[in-house]
């Protein structure tokens, strides 16, 4: 039977994981404290996209398919 954790613990665990993941970013790219604690998920996502220069037009579920000319066989 799965353990039904109280939502408060679930929240703390998820937030902890989020912070650990954000700490994987280099210091100059990390979101501000205010963004982490008071920002909306959308704001945080935009921050990360900007930090890694992810273009708005590219969709998350798209896999870029790049054909390098020097790899094309004649």
């Amino acid at each position: 039977m799965p353990i039904d954790l109280p939502w408060t613990m679930g929240y703390v665990i998820r937030k902890r994981m989020q912070i650990d993941n954000l700490n994987e970013m280099t210091k100059d790219k990390r979101p501000t404290e205010d963004m982490i604690w008071n920002g909306t998920p959308e704001e945080l996502e935009k921050w990360i996209d900007d930090a890694y220069d992810v273009k708005e037009t590219s969709r998350r579920d798209e896999i870029p398919f790049v054909i390098k000319e020097d790899e094309v066989e004649d």
Binding site: T8, M9, G10, Y11, V12, K15, R16, W37
Partner: protein, 242 residues
Amino acid sequence: MDIEKNDVDLSKLFLWNKEVEIKDEAGNVVKTVWMRLVGDADLNRARVISLRESAKARESLKTETSDEYMAYIAPLKFSSKENITAGIKLLNMGNYMDEARANVITKFPVEPASDASLEEQEKYQKIIDDFPIKWEKDLDKELKKIDKRESSRLDVMDEDALKKEYVDGLINYICQTSMNDTFHSYCTYFGTYEDAKFRRKAFRSYDDYSNISPRVKQMLEDAYRDLEIPIPQLKKSLGATP
């Protein structure tokens, strides 16, 4: 946002259930139930149901023939401009507070290095102790600024525009209240059990729960509220484990 670092208490996170005695008006225990904080699944169910309730309330308030419209919206035509203006400000108080909180950037003191002298640590603790007072003062100043700006904005609006803003605000307020009440009611219903092992629900259905006396319902909902840790407190508890 509460930015104190002093009263972080992680132990409360683990106090997530308790025994609740239901007492009659004379104070005699008539039944004992066990209550626990709901998990993510029930929390989400409560959220979805309360959103539907809020949508129902919104629709009624916008229908001119409904009882809700007659009770809350129709009397507006007898209100004076001053009353409507005061009403708008009152209804927007939460938004003003959010705006003020977002605008107030009181720089949090930099923590001394781990090998800092005792005196440096004492100084830092003093700043931490005084921080909430300074922050509240800044917040109060910002709120006054927003109030002045809003007074000027509302003063130049004509009565129809004022009425529209008041009605929109009132509908949002009533729907928000309806959503919060329903959400809390459902969480209490989902989290109340007959046994200490949390296997048998205390109520067979939400209707059964709704039909209990308002006094007992209030007692149960207060007990549930007491178990909950508000999100700002949860955020503070995380600060203790960098």
